[in-house]
Amino acid sequence: MKKIHIVLLVIIAAAIAVLITFMKTTSTYDSIDMAVAKPGKFVHLMAKLDKAAPIEYDAVKNPNYLVFTAKDSTGSVKVVYHNVMPPNFEMSDKLVLKGKYENGLFECKDIQTKCPSKYKDAEEKGLTHPGTAKTNK
């Protein structure tokens, strides 16, 4: 076996190890009942903002504290987010909440909001990467 083959094997093994680690650390897209069923586990919670429930946020008191209720067809959960309220949060249609459920609360690390006219708003907000803007309809 040549030296280069050994190196090749080592590097490929490292790459495979990395990919396996990656697959192990991946999370899941879940509904509320599934997220609640696995407390402490990082998930991508797909839900809606419960607009009937109060949204607790006062930037003057603490800009890094947002509490609201998320709901979907399987239930609802109180969500805490230690960051600024996303700009179009209150009018959002769908939310992707990245975080974990613990002690009766969903501790959210990151929120992605989807607006009713999903594409259009994202584009108007400048989130579209140049060159990818859609043209027709």
Binding site: V60, Y65, N83, V84, L127, P130, G131, T132
Partner: protein, 824 residues
């Protein structure tokens, strides 16, 4: 009479540019196909005269193609420039208010414009190859012309077997479907009726350019990036030509300068995007391992691998197979990244939003990918055994051995990145629903810190090795001193630099330290090699210069990210302390006019200004260093509810120092609606010395003064003016003096309230009673409180990164010039 309806004339439309545009689009489609066919014939023709004729014909077609693309460009620009909103593209991507410099930006904001830009660069590169390509012209240009044809299909918008092929940039607004549901524009306000003949008079302005794209980077970043994208076709075409014409060895030499060129253009293009993100977008940095970024980084990594294997081949005859593979793959990954970023498959994983063009686009781009690269890979497999290689093993002391390892590491790092980025593709293919991990950035970082270590060390010492084998004593003699200097420099920097990256594990921090030391090693050894190895002859020093630059890039990344600090840490909130166990957040609220404590600064949100030229609002944030008292003003800006869209789009502002940047952007602002005052005054009866409590403190009435001898022209006869000075003691420890006034002028009572912004307090003298008491109105209101929430970072040594990029590009360019000269 349906015929007449179809012939309905609309007033105010300019149809000629569009018709010309359609013509050139069809011409470009036909010409590029004809050019690739004619070049194909020329390449396969053994008879000299026949070959010459085919080549002449092919050139004619390619020039027709170039003329078409430039004409399409010019016409589309004319349409945008003249605000011909009867065209969907102009309506969609521009408006009248747009400054001239952004007209180009609207051009490539859209899918079609960016494909045209790509095509345009293919044309320019093609002309260069026609002029200097010699024997390679026919086979290489046949590949490039075919790529041109594939790109041309992206903008045809022709229906083909019920399938719309691409989208046409010259489509009219009324044909695009956006007006179909606008009753006001239709006859009798009925959307089932045709449009009114004068519908265009109601379309007064376009949608305008995406607000965040109104930035000078948007004008220059896409052309450079697309030059990088487009140029990868050249090494690809040379490799294909080599395989096809069975010139398995000869293609390497002309391909090398092109690969260098491609790496420089793509690298600069990518880093311009990074600079843009850093400077103007609120992603909080220059690199986020976002799929869009990854997708263009991967081809670059493979291009760099290709450069190194081509160099190895040139000097030793080894690594030719790898050179083929890398040249084919870098173009493959350019197309794959186009697929990833434009079909909407990435969905939720990117900070960028993507468009779903629908299934036809999906299939189209996959076909494009397959039809261009599949034959090449098949040829590669068929010819693999006949590609020259050297059986004998490389010496451990040879330069090529270590260079090859470096190339492999780059290549595999590219594969890992694209593998992780392709997770949504995996989900789509296998129907799984796997989401990205919690700490995706950390995953990328922790892998690449090792890639950085390996690559830095390899680039540091391998220049000191000679091809085919090096005498040990020679090597140590030359490299000893620079290694020692690097070790000392690294030790000093690590000791005094305090790179304490505690966000992740201690092991990760140690890796960062090692990587810092290794990149310093790469910088110093390569710099000294320019003198000790090359005797200072810069002409030959392209490689070393590029390595120095790359070492600086690594060092800049490691330090700026490792020492990046959020300085807007909100430890207390303003009024309410955080509950126990709560992490301090990263956003800080600044109430207008109120000095806040932030790390080594006092900062104040002074005012905001509605910019007269554009719709953005600038916020004046004054920073004052606590120690020195030095002040500076930062003006981050935001588009607030621009274009009728709710929300905030923020652009940061930064203060640049030699060692670091202070970087701030707005994360939220007070709701303008809530600024409407709804609170009521509460009236209290007070005597001198009385105390009145409010929610955040108390106030004491100091005196009741009456002023006489008032100017008669203002107050009339018998005018009076009462003043009620108050002292206010806030819970925060601050004290304030206010003086509400009550005047009786010309028979009318006028009250002049006083305000303390910081306390949300308005006091109003409502009545002065005869018994030396007053009626004081007190209002506590959020309405008077205007605030912004900011996020601020400190990026240390970011200049190393930008400088490094520049030096790398210069180094690659030196090499390129050198390699082109060697040709003659």
């Amino acid at each position: 009479m349906g015929f007449q309806l179809l012939k309905l004339q609309y007033t105010g439309e300019h149809l000629l540019p569009g018709q010309l545009g359609h013509f050139f689009i069809v011409l470009s489609l036909v010409a590029s196909l004809a050019a690739s066919f004619a070049y194909f014939k020329a390449a396969n023709e053994s008879d000299d005269i026949q070959q010459h004729l085919w080549k002449k014909l092919a050139r004619l077609f390619f020039i027709a193609e170039t003329v078409s693309i430039i004409s399409i460009f010019a016409i589309l620009f004319y349409i945008i420039h003249n605000h011909l909103f009867e065209y969907h593209y102009a309506w969609k991507h521009s408006n009248r208010a747009l400054e001239f410099k952004y007209l180009l930006a609207c051009f490539w904001e859209g899918q079609e414009g960016s494909f045209l830009l790509w095509s345009f660069w293919h044309c320019i590169l093609g002309l260069i190859i026609i002029r200097w390509g010699k024997v390679w012209e026919a086979p290489v240009m046949s590949v490039i012309s075919f790529a041109q044809f594939c790109l041309a299909t992206m903008v045809t918008g022709i229906y083909f077997l019920g399938w719309r092929m691409g989208t046409n940039p010259f489509i009219l607004l009324r044909e695009s479907g956006v007006l179909d549901n606008a009753p006001a524009l239709h006859i009798d306000f009925d959307i089932n009726q045709p449009l009114k003949a004068d519908y265009l008079s109601s379309v007064k302005d376009g949608n305008g350019l995406n607000k965040l794209l109104q930035n000078y980077w948007m004008v220059i970043h896409p052309p450079v990036l697309f030059l990088g994208f487009a140029s990868t076709v050249v090494p690809f075409a040379f490799a294909v030509a080599g395989l096809w014409k069975n010139k398995l060895a000869e293609w390497a030499k002309p391909a090398l300068p092109w690969t260098l060129f491609s790496a420089a253009a793509l690298g600069i293009g990518i880093m311009m995007g990074a600079a843009w993100a850093y400077e103007s977008l609120s992603f909080g940095g220059y690199w986020a391992w976002d799929p869009v970024e990854n997708a263009s980084l991967v081809p670059w990594l493979i291009l760099v691998s290709g450069i190194h294997t081509l160099l190895i081949y040139k000097s030793t005859g080894r690594s030719l197979r790898a050179s083929f593979l890398f040249s084919l793959l870098s173009f493959f990954f350019i197309l794959y990244s186009t697929f990833l970023t434009r079909t909407g498959i990435l969905g939720d994983t990117s900070v960028h939003a993507f468009t779903g063009e629908g299934d036809s686009f999906y299939i189209h781009i996959l076909l494009f990918l397959a039809i261009l690269t599949l034959p090449a890979f098949v040829l590669f497999v068929i010819r693999y055994r006949s590609i020259p290689s050297i059986k004998k093993e490389e010496e451990l002391s040879s330069r090529e051995f270590w260079m090859f390892i470096g190339s492999l590491v780059f290549f595999l790092s590219g594969l890992v990145i694209i593998g992780i980025t392709s997770l949504p593709v995996f989900n789509k293919v296998f129907g799984t629903k796997i989401a990205p991990p919690e700490k995706i950035e950390f995953l990328y970082n922790s892998i690449h810190v090792y890639v950085a270590i390996i690559v830095a060390v390899l680039s540091g010492f391998s220049q000191y090795l000679k091809y085919k084998g090096t005498a040990t004593s020679f090597f140590w003699k030359k490299i000893g001193l620079p290694t020692l200097i690097a070790a000392i420099a690294a030790a000093l920097i690590l000791y005094f630099g305090k790179i304490n990256y505690t966000k992740e594990t201690a092991g990760f921090m140690a890796s960062i330290w090692i990587a810092v030391a290794c990149s310093i090693y790469a910088i110093i050894t390569n710099a000294s090699y320019i003198f000790s190895g090359l005797k200072g002859k810069l002409k030959f020093a392209g490689g070393s210069v590029a390595h120095v630059g790359f070492g600086l890039v690594l060092l800049g990344i490691l330090i700026s990210s490792g020492k990046k600090e959020v300085i807007s840490t909100n430890t207390s909130g303003i009024f309410v302390p955080l509950g126990e166990g709560e992490n301090p957040g990263e956003n800080l609220t600044l109430v207008q006019g109120m000095k806040m404590d932030m790390g080594k600064y006092h900062i104040t949100y002074e005012k905001d200004s509605l910019h007269t030229q554009s719709e953005r609002t600038f916020f004046n944030i004054r920073f004052q260093e606590k120690e020195t008292g030095k002040q500076f003003l930062l003006q981050p800006n935001s588009f607030i509810n621009a274009n009728g869209q709710e929300g905030l789009m923020s652009n940061p502002d930064a203060r640049h120092y030699l060692q670091h940047d202070v970087f701030v952007y707005i994360t939220s602002i007070s709701d303008p609606d809530k600024l409407k005052d709804t609170a009521q005054f509460k009236t209290t009866h007070l005597k001198i010395g009385d105390t009145l409590f409010y929610s955040a403190g108390f106030m004491v009435l100091q005196a009741i003064n009456k002023k006489d001898s008032l100017p008669e022209d203002l107050f009339g006869t018998n005018g009076t003016l009462h003043e009620a000075p108050l002292k206010i003691f806030a819970k925060t420890g601050s004290t304030y003096s206010v003086t509400p006034r009550l005047a009786v002028a010309k028979g009318e009572a006028v009250t002049v309230a006083d305000t303390i912004r910081a306390e949300n307090l308005i006091v109003q003298l409502q009545k002065v009673n005869t018994d030396q008491s007053i009626n004081l109105g007190v209002k506590e209101s959020n309405a008077i409180m205007k605030y912004v929430t900011i996020k601020a970072y400190k990026f240390p040594f970011i200049l190393l990164l930008w400088g490094g990029v520049l030096i790398t590009a210069i180094g690659i360019s030196i090499s390129m010039v050198q390699r082109i000269r060697q040709k003659g």
